[in-house]
Symmetry: C2
Subunit: 215 residues, 2 copies
């Protein structure tokens, strides 16, 4: 039950119903979710560990604000982890390659940006799911969760969706040629390029904030 609550609250944060910096009113939120404060607080504590919330003693829980620094630092970690996971996983078998192709096709035809982001994460996870290091996979998944907020926020405000199909294609081509090193290198570049548009948006947004303060 508190696990379900964590799921719901995480979704509320990720999709922006709970805005960055907002203070969480436990009494009201527990009422809205139809449970009492105790399990809600356990869920919120878990989200603190995930980095989605910040707990300030005597003040309660706050939604972690979107921070350019945090985002850049998070995104700089994936180029370290994903290529290594792919290297450990090896070239996917025919079945997995087919699944990756299907996902790519779905991404290309996805109309909703949110859906495209989910599919992109699925694609990256399918790429490395054979990796025997499950701790590494869990780490990657947790970073995916933490960055999804940023990707969704960008999408909501700009309608821009980062179409990575060309990069996916390069990775797939290397895999079909059984060139694991080449695929890892292409994956690393793919991870690095995803960062650019969001950083640009966050910087513009921060500037807008400052102007807002002056005005």
């Amino acid at each position: 039950m508190s696990e379900a609550a964590a799921e719901v609250v995480r979704a509320m944060i990720v999709d922006g119903r709970l805005a960055g910096g907002e203070r969480i009113n436990e009494v009201r939120l527990s009422g809205e979710l139809g449970l009492s404060r105790t399990p809600l607080r356990e869920a919120l504590s878990g989200l603190v560990a995930e980095g989605a919330l910040i707990a300030r003693p005597r003040l309660g829980f706050f939604v972690a604000p979107l921070s350019l620094n945090e985002f850049e630092q998070l995104y700089d970690i994936r180029p370290l982890l994903d290529p290594e996971a792919l290297r450990l996983a090896g070239v996917p078998d025919a079945k997995s390659l087919a699944r990756l192709e299907r996902l790519d096709h779905q991404i290309a035809t996805a109309h909703l940006g949110e859906h495209a982001i989910t599919l992109d994460d699925e694609w990256h996870f399918a790429l490395i799911e054979a990796c025997p290091n499950k701790v590494l996979l869990e780490l990657i998944a947790s970073i995916m969760r933490r960055t999804r907020r940023y990707e969704l926020a960008l999408m909501r405000e700009t309608e821009h969706v980062h179409r990575a199909n060309a990069e996916h294609a390069r990775i797939m081509a290397a895999l079909r040629a059984r060139d694991l090193d080449g695929a890892c290198a292409a994956l690393k570049r793919n991870m690095q390029s995803g960062k650019v548009p969001i950083v640009a948006w966050l910087k513009a947004r921060d500037v807008a904030r400052k102007v807002g303060k002056w005005g």
Copy 2:
């Protein structure tokens, strides 16, 4: 208060007072710690997120058992993260280098194994503390916390302490020569070598377990 409880319970797990696989009796433990179940449960939930505990619905919290698989996977991640953190941090300044030397000296003369382990972690953290990517540092710190259980358990059972001073010396030499790449490479080797004795011990231990089951 629940934060303090988390600290205490974490220490109890790390130093073995709460053994791997053990079930946690919330009522008794809350009594021992002098608080009520509510804040204790929040602390335990946090430890679940850290990987120190496992929550099984309707059964409560269990201390995560020592697992050869988890340990190998955790330790295989540090050679990815630490060298990159060092690369981003750059060659430490003179003051930091002096501190690293002091720590090395303390490690060499440390008689208690537990103290040596703490000092080794301190050394590795001091090495990369200038890294601007704080998320990466936090990740490394969390992996340190998760592996410390294993290192302490090994130490308790075998009195063996992995003396990494020779490897530290190689890293320091490279840094003094301002050879960042060389230092990163040496650090990577250092991270990989730390794994060996503990893996050997865990394997022997698992075999002993099986024999125990037969006997």
